[in-house]
Subunit: 228 residues, 2 copies
């Protein structure tokens, strides 16, 4: 159906993140503060002037695209993982990727504005919850007086620490994870398993940058089995 008010948007940038696959991506931004990303602008928008004053803000909004989602028909109901995957909510009451316009919204911390040789001026950010190479459609400063509502009622997403797992990782494996250990273990604690997976025998695999971690979960305790 052609709609008179359809609007065409194009990426201004892409973000590089340590998440090459959907499995293991934190379910909201900021949950894994250590997860770092680099925003690389498209040549057309690679003008350092477009970033002037940006370092006076500590946080940025990213409006981005759920590039890996394919949805043919509008479905008004989704099953949020936070509700165990068997309860349905309206799509506009969730941040599910399956939505009419596949737009995502994340707030990230701005760690630095860096000039590079091949990619122009890039933004170093952290607390990302985006797949590697996600297209970014807009970047806006976080304005605390307008955006921060710490007393807002958060519905089913009220407690970020509900369902957090205890992570068991022996020293040798932790050492193999090197600099990424803190971020990887924080991401694992957030329980990357799909809702209602609860088979202690099953070994899951999560990728983080070039690393691959295997783990299992039994009774709220996640045990790292291998790290490469």
């Amino acid at each position: 159906m052609v709609h008179s008010e359809t609007y065409e948007i194009e990426p201004i940038a892409h973000i590089r993140t340590p998440f090459p696959e959907k499995f293991g991506i934190p379910r909201q931004s900021g949950l894994v503060a250590e997860a770092k990303g680099t925003i690389v602008f498209e040549p057309k928008y690679r003008d350092p002037d477009a970033l002037r004053c940006i370092e006076t803000f500590s946080h940025l909004w990213l409006i981005w695209g759920f590039s890996e989602v394919e949805q043919d028909e509008f479905s008004p109901l989704v099953r949020p993982p936070r509700l165990g995957g068997n309860e349905k909510c309206g799509v506009f009451a969730t941040r599910s990727p399956f939505r009419p316009n596949e737009l995502g919204l994340s707030v990230v911390k701005l760690d630095g504005v860096e000039k590079t040789k091949g990619k122009g001026t890039v933004l170093e950010v952290s607390g990302v919850d985006l797949l590697d190479k996600t297209p970014i459609y807009d970047i806006k400063p976080y304005i605390p007086y307008a955006d921060a509502h710490p007393d807002a009622r958060g519905g089913f997403a009220s407690d970020p620490d509900e369902g957090v797992l205890t992570v068991d990782c022996d020293d040798a494996l932790r050492e193999r994870l090197g600099d990424d250990a803190t971020a990887v273990l924080a991401a694992l604690a957030r329980d990357p398993r799909p809702a209602y997976h609860d088979n202690p025998e099953r070994v899951y695999e999560m990728r983080y940058g070039a690393r691959t971690v295997r783990f299992s979960v039994d009774d709220g305790v996640l045990t790292v089995r291998s790290a490469e």
Copy 2:
């Protein structure tokens, strides 16, 4: 230029607000808490199921379109009104409407979910900073643990009360404004004048719903001259 990653979005809804013109729209959401809006869904998305559980959240994000902005070429620099209009910032360090993808972002309070006869289920919201009939591309719940960063550094937009005017409105005029008096006077206090207008002789006109208010500003005091 055809870009392989352009993405077509379409309005899921339009918002009705008391702001028929750009002049007088609060410069961020929440600044005029009394400014109410009604989100009316497009027939295609007018399914009450899509809103199931939404009332468990107190605030919502709206991703919307700067429908009245026409920009032909990318301009990396803009002049934020908060900086008096003569200082330039990078577009991604501002929420200026003149941006590559003309997407706006606002958080509004959810006041109610109402079934109507002709327009399906609508959302009553407040604290709006949107032009009447603005297209809405997405609605997402506000998740306080991820979205609220009261200690974020807000750059040039740190103090919402900087530049707030004293409003002088006599009782007869206030009475003429009826139920809208609080909202109109709050919007006026935020100084709707373009940056660097400072002519005490000039009479400005602001519309709010069906009302028209005329005022002048002298030395930080706004005086309401007429109200219809």
